[in-house]
């Protein structure tokens, strides 16, 4: 039997294994009596699970795998990533989950949640209402929602979630986030020490491991990439930032890098959004979690109060992209927008215009997540890369 224990050849190899066989470790842990809780999207408060010794497991789709079963339950105009997640679940690929938590991130996830619950009947099912607004009352509301959710999880886990345990979980997740930022920073060099595809695989692997095991994996990847023989110089390769939502498989990054560019930064749900900002370790921990997830996560599903003019609004919403671009010496950006992801689709023209206004060439791609047309995309990306060179 292939287990995650005997695939510890090195950090990157293990990350690759786990990113391909995502249920591997979760199944082992479950056989040892641990409870595995699946969650969608970036808004599930991971710290709660960890503090209660529940194993969070991010639900992802399967790029390239045809939708077979989901058609009977979810319309084709739903986000194809969401459809892929459901399809995998209906094919029993998520049969190791003891429960699922759906934060109200967007319309697509909201609709998926009730369908998942009805047909897959998980032992634990919870729909967490996440406000879209960011007024002071929104944070207060979200804190109340989180408190109700915490109580529900306590009942499920059969133990109390103390502030002390929550703080320890916050510190552990913050440590992992800091390590991921350290790993990501290895892309700042003229010749990045880690490719975009490798980093994505590592990210995916971290999302299917318990937090305490994440630490070791990320540390081992850092150590490995720092110590491996230097690559040929990448100085002439355009440095690309990828903007989008759920890219959970390395094929797209690989294709961009095979096209002659280096992927040096991202703004993805499966990328920097997960680790760029941590949870405040002082004060009330539930309040700190509410602040981190509602305010610091940069997903277009959250409305940012406009400071006044359009120019100021755009700066308020997207200036962090400029900071990313400057810090990572980015030469161009690719917007990889999954069709039917409404909030991302609405933002795309503004993001495109903003990035162009700061001097970055932009390639705007709308795709269906499956990468079925990757050869067509390759042609477009190659032309884009050549244009930057």
């Amino acid at each position: 039997m292939v287990t995650s224990e005997n695939t510890k050849m090195n950090g990157l190899e293990r990350a690759k294994q786990l990113s391909k066989n995502r249920g591997l470790r979760a199944k082992e842990l479950r056989s040892q009596g641990r409870k595995i809780i699946g969650y969608l999207c970036s808004y599930a408060p991971l710290e709660f699970f960890t503090a209660l010794d529940l194993v969070p497991h991010r639900i992802m789709g399967s790029v390239g795998e045809p939708i077979i079963k989901a058609d009977a339950y979810l319309e084709p105009i739903a986000c194809p990533f969401v459809r892929s997640c459901l399809d995998k679940a209906l094919k029993d690929d998520y049969d190791f989950l003891d429960g699922v938590v759906f934060p109200h991130s967007c319309d697509n996830v909201q609709h998926l949640s009730s369908i998942w619950n009805y047909y897959l009947k998980p032992e634990l099912y919870y729909f967490l209402n996440v406000p879209h607004m960011t007024e002071p009352s929104s944070f207060e509301f979200f804190k109340s929602e989180l408190t109700a959710f915490k109580k529900y999880l306590e009942d499920f886990a059969g133990k109390e979630l103390t502030d002390q345990a929550l703080l320890e979980a916050i510190k552990l997740h913050n440590k992992n986030r800091a390590l991921l930022r350290e790993l990501n920073a290895l892309r700042k060099q003229d010749t990045p020490l880690i490719s975009g595809a490798e980093l994505l695989q590592t990210m995916v692997a971290t999302m299917v491991l318990p937090a305490d095991e994440e630490t070791g994996l990320i540390e081992s990847v850092i150590e490995e990439v720092k110590n491996r023989p230097p690559k040929d110089s990448d100085e002439d390769r355009p440095r690309i930032m990828i903007y989008g939502c759920e890219i959970d498989s390395p094929e797209f990054m690989q294709m961009v890098e095979d096209s002659g560019a280096s992927v040096v930064m991202d703004d993805l749900c499966t990328g920097t959004r997960g680790y760029w900002e941590g949870v405040d370790e002082t004060g009330d921990p539930v309040e700190a979690i509410a602040n981190r997830y509602l305010d610091k996560l940069r997903c277009p599903r959250t409305y940012r109060v406009s400071p006044g003019t359009h120019e100021a609004d755009i700066a308020n919403r997207f200036e962090y992209l400029k900071e990313y671009a400057e810090e990572f010496d980015v030469n161009g950006a690719i917007l990889y927008i999954i069709r039917y992801c409404d909030t991302q689709e609405f933002d795309a023209p503004d993001v495109r215009d903003y990035l162009q206004s700061i001097g970055l060439p932009v390639l705007h791609i709308e795709d269906d997540y499956t990468l079925a047309g990757i050869e067509g995309l390759r042609t477009r990306v190659q032309a884009f890369v050549e244009m930057i060179v």
Partner: protein, 437 residues
């Protein structure tokens, strides 16, 4: 897929009262144009955001932008706006209400005037944008993106529904509190933007009118349970206009009183929407195909009448709250309590409030078939329909048709194909109806 040879695409109405809606719609846009000429505040707004009465109490003229998109669809002039939005870089799969609105404002920003040929004189330039998260994400994302074309003050609010399966009575308090705070912040924004203070007594009075309007509207629709059905769905998709767009105005209340009287008279005299009613159907989901409401008349030609619909259904009236309750809390409680009431009913039945509504309407209105509209650009109202149908079938094997089209974009519609589908569906309904006898 668009058909080349179209004749009449709007529906022929059955009731006299429904025929009075078109002038009301014209007047809505005229009012906004007059407000613009006189320099009075005008708000772009999202229907059913629960802030309608607040706007009226502060003399802010609303423009319901989704309604305008539907109007362009009904007039078959939506395409240039959609094309413009596409040219701006917005995806063709986005909500077509939003695409029409974005295209309209992009053209206005470019030309400095209302687009030529815009129906009913076009949407006047707003002085504020009021988005909301009620129903779907595009309803705040749309206005956020309009900053590209106008530096207009914007405020968006959350409208939170207790839709968790774990919702408890204890949670009601903080839901109502949050909703109240959201309305309070909206009022603060409106006061600041208009320089006018809210008159709370006036708001209370407007809400009284609104509550009465909802009650009369609700009562009127109970009359549609009669056989033959006195009013079909194509009339409903007009008659919902005063309740959604003029809520709190005396004119809306008077409209439903008149509708009630007309339906009563029809029921008393056994006047049906179709001459020989053979099949009673439920409009079970999705917003209507505004571009081709005449499809309802095709159903009628086969003896089928849509007796009731889940879309824009009148909200079930609630027990009035005491006079000592602050109007904003009254508004907030309305939002939360309506959802809780529906959930409570579902708990006694199938478990899902949306499916329970379908099951109830099938039964109460004696329907033998159900149609759902899968509108390509409307995820909020189209997703879940397959699931709803699956759940309904576990309780009752009623024939169901999924019509595939769009709310606005006629390019997603094939009349010939739809009519063939309708023919087959009505055959299935016929067999089903016979099996019941």
């Amino acid at each position: 897929m668009a058909e080349q040879q179209k004749t009449k695409t709007t529906a022929t109405k059955s009731t006299k009262t429904a025929g009075k809606v078109r002038p009301i719609v014209k007047k809505m846009y005229l009012r906004a144009q007059e407000a613009a000429a006189e320099g009075r505040p005008i708000a772009y707004g999202m229907v059913a955001s629960q802030y309608e009465e607040i706007l009226r109490a502060m003399d802010i003229t609303p423009i319901w932008t989704e309604n305008y998109a539907a109007l362009t669809a009904a007039k078959q002039v939506a395409e240039p706006y959609i094309t413009k939005a596409e040219a701006e870089g917005f995806s063709n799969v986005l909500c077509k209400y939003a695409m029409v609105g974005i295209g309209f404002d992009a053209i206005r920003a470019e030309t400095g005037k209302i687009p030529e040929g815009a129906p009913d004189g076009g949407m006047a330039q707003p002085t504020m944008l009021l988005g909301s998260s009620a129903v779907c994400d595009p309803r705040f994302k749309w206005y956020q993106t309009l900053g590209r074309y106008m530096d207009t003050p914007i405020h968006c609010i959350d409208v939170v529904y207790p839709n968790s399966n774990h919702f408890t009575l204890e949670m009601r308090d903080y839901y109502v509190k949050y909703q109240t705070e959201q309305f309070k912040e909206l009022v603060n924004f409106l006061e600041k933007t208009t320089g006018t203070k809210m008159d709370w007594e006036r708001l209370d009075h407007i809400m009284d009118i609104a509550d009465e309007t909802i009650q009369v509207w609700w009562d009127a629709y109970q009359l549609r349970k009669a056989t033959p059905c006195p009013m079909p769905s194509q009339d409903h998709f007009s008659c919902m206009v005063p309740a959604y767009y003029l809520l709190g105005e005396q004119e809306a209340l008077d409209f439903y009183r008149e509708l009630h009287d007309e339906l009563k008279e029809r029921v008393d005299n056994k006047v049906g929407a179709v001459e020989n009613e053979k099949y009673r159907l439920l409009w079970g989901g999705g917003l209507p195909p505004w571009h081709t409401l005449s499809i309802f008349n095709y159903f009628e030609s086969l003896g089928a009448v849509f007796t009731i619909e889940t879309s824009y259904h009148p909200p079930e009236p609630l027990e009035p709250m005491g006079k000592d309750v602050h109007p904003l809390k009254r508004l907030s409680s309305r939002v939360v309590d309506r959802a809780m009431k529906a959930q409570a009913r579902a708990k006694e039945g199938c478990g899902d409030s949306r499916v329970q509504q379908i099951l109830d309407l099938l039964k109460e209105y004696n329907n033998v078939g159900m149609m759902m509209h899968q509108a390509r650009s409307c995820r909020a109202m189209s997703l879940g329909q397959i699931h709803f149908k699956n759940m309904v079938q576990e309780h009752i094997k009623v024939p169901t048709m999924f019509m595939e089209s769009d709310i606005v974009d006629v390019r997603d519609y094939s009349e010939a194909q739809t009519k063939m589908q309708v023919d087959a569906f009505v055959d299935a309904v016929e067999s089903y109806a016979q099996s019941l006898n």
